[in-house]
């Protein structure tokens, strides 16, 4: 960490640790000494099994939690709270049940006082981008799981964040839909490049999407175990020999089959 920060450095985490005090327990250390850099427009995947602090790390970057030690910067500025420069796609969709698809997607712009006409236009653009054209007036409960998460993605995108944080966005989808949504994610990202931190417990998902994979330790407190740069061209094929080689390498590093 002595080198000069690169000019395209977007996110920098420095020795971030977090311990939660749970009811009736002594503190549970959830992540410890996590340091990582994310370059501008890089697609970084944080790969780790269940319950290793992935969500906590993402929530710290989002500014929803404060680290006990260490700090996070965005464009060199320390993160002190949540803000519209970072979009978060939640593990459990977290759509507003009382808003339509349009109402959900335009919420960020509405909260920031963008006039109705203008925000409708932007929201429509992202609804189209995620492939939900025609569903603007639907309520979340009328949508399938995959469609719900498209709304979640569009809602985050519509706020024009510098960084997109995705927390196991496809964890609740069936394998088929999941694969399809991965392709969609790659397509959307190619279309509107952003710095992405994508959390998953699925190794194939990671290999399909990532420029770089951060592999987490499989137990609490979560730490970084290893890092893999995936220099393969897109669109990728799950069955490509380089991918399979990497897959074997990463699997060998993990106690659990991910």
């Amino acid at each position: 960490m002595t080198a000069e920060p690169s000019p395209t450095l977007k996110i920098h985490c420095e020795d971030v640790s977090k311990t939660f005090i749970q009811k009736g327990h002594i503190g549970v250390p959830v992540i410890r000494d996590i340091s990582l850099d994310v370059e501008e427009n890089e697609f970084l995947v944080v790969l780790g099994p269940g319950q290793c602090g992935k969500s906590t790390l993402l929530r710290i970057i989002a500014g929803l939690e404060t680290p006990d030690t260490g700090y996070v910067t965005l464009d060199g500025q320390p993160i002190v709270g949540p803000g519209p420069d970072r979009g978060l796609v939640f593990q459990g969709y977290m759509l507003f049940a009382w808003e339509t698809v349009m109402g959900n997607v335009e919420m960020g712009l509405k909260l920031r006082g963008v006039p109705k006409h203008e925000r409708r236009e932007v929201a429509q653009h992202y609804i189209d981008l995620v492939g939900l054209t025609g569903f603007e007036k639907h309520y979340p409960h009328q949508l399938s799981g995959g469609m719900k998460q498209r709304v979640g993605i569009a809602r985050a995108y519509a706020n024009s964040p510098k960084v997109m944080l995705l927390d196991e966005p496809f964890g609740q989808l069936d394998a088929q839909t999941r694969m399809f949504m991965q392709k969609e994610t790659a397509r959307i990202w190619e279309h509107e490049k952003r710095t992405v931190v994508f959390v998953t417990n699925n190794i194939d998902e990671a290999l399909f999407l990532a420029d770089r994979i951060i592999l987490m330790e499989g137990k609490l407190p979560g730490r970084i175990k290893r890092e893999y740069v995936i220099g393969l061209p897109r669109p990728r094929d799950h069955a490509h020999k380089d991918i399979l080689e990497l897959r074997a390498m990463i699997t060998a590093q993990t106690e659990l089959v991910l």
């Binding site: 949540p82 459990g92 507003f96 909260l111 920031r112 009328q142």
Partner: protein
């Protein structure tokens, strides 16, 4: 080959026909009708055979009684008058309570200090059955209108407050995080999440309150009243007029049902995202 297909078609057609008849008989509305007709028939037979002596009136006698009351004045006013007096008591008591209890419940769940101050007192009064207030309210406020409205207000206050309170308490906390991440303030969290998310619970509370309100009304009017539907029931009891008692019961039930329907309609207006759940 072709003959076997033909045979199959004939076979399945006859099966389908049999099914249609069965489906017709088991149609929900047909069953509703069968069930209601059976009930009234049973009622009529039981009354006709004097199973309960002469204290059960036949359905058509009850209907005649109600019709008669709608034509002439009874205890100063006709049937519509009695219905209206009772309804007014419910509306005022229920209206007063909900206008205070719902905002208070919302406020308590959003502000920990308000909660710490109000909750202990509220918990103290919560388990008290509302009808227990009847006697004390007559002692305090006499037998006028106010004591009746007071009982209804007290009874409806608890479910109104409780549902508004829990409606906000049970909101998924991560929904607030969504607002914060999108750049919203604490005020935005309340307006965009707390209020809309608690609407269904508030309406559920209003529904419960309304049924409590009619119960309290009846209790208050049975104790002392010179008019109203409860008064009709009481008078029927005193003069041994089962048709009048049953008529009053039917009227109260009808009004309670109607008012609950009204709240449901309001809820549909206020929560369009829930309407589509029902219509699915």
């Amino acid at each position: 080959m072709s003959s076997s297909i033909a045979n199959e078609t004939v076979g399945s057609a006859s099966v389908r026909e049999g099914r249609t008849l069965w489906e017709m008989l088991t149609n929900t509305y047909v069953l509703y009708f069968v069930s209601l007709a059976g009930f009234f028939l049973l009622w009529d037979r039981v009354a006709y055979l004097h199973v309960f002596g002469d204290s059960l009136a036949r359905p058509h006698v009850v209907a005649q009684k109600l019709y008669m009351l709608s034509q002439v004045k009874f205890a100063g006013t006709n049937l519509a008058g009695h219905i209206w007096v009772s309804t007014q008591r419910v509306l005022i008591g229920f209206g007063l309570a909900s206008v205070i209890a719902v905002p208070l419940g919302l406020f308590m769940s959003l502000n920990q200090y308000a909660n710490a101050i109000v909750k202990p007192i509220f918990d103290l009064f919560k388990p008290m059955p509302p009808i227990a207030w009847v006697s004390i309210s007559i002692l305090w406020f006499g037998i006028g209108e106010f004591s009746k409205v007071f009982i209804i207000a007290i009874g409806t206050f608890v479910p109104c407050l409780l549902n508004a309170y829990n409606g906000i308490r049970l909101i998924e906390p991560e929904l607030y995080d969504v607002v914060r991440v999108l750049g919203g303030s604490r005020k935005d969290e309340i307006i965009q999440v707390s209020f809309p998310a608690s609407f269904p619970a508030i309406f559920a509370g209003l529904q419960i309150s309304l049924s409590v309100a009619w119960t309290c009304l009846l209790a208050a009017e049975l104790m002392n009243a010179r008019d109203g539907m409860g008064f009709l029931i009481k008078r029927g009891m005193d003069t041994h007029d089962p048709a009048l008692v049953l008529g009053g019961m039917v009227l109260i039930a009808a009004m309670a049902w109607l008012s609950s329907l009204l709240i449901s309609l309001l809820e549909r207006k206020a929560c369009p995202w829930k309407r589509s759940i029902e219509n699915l």
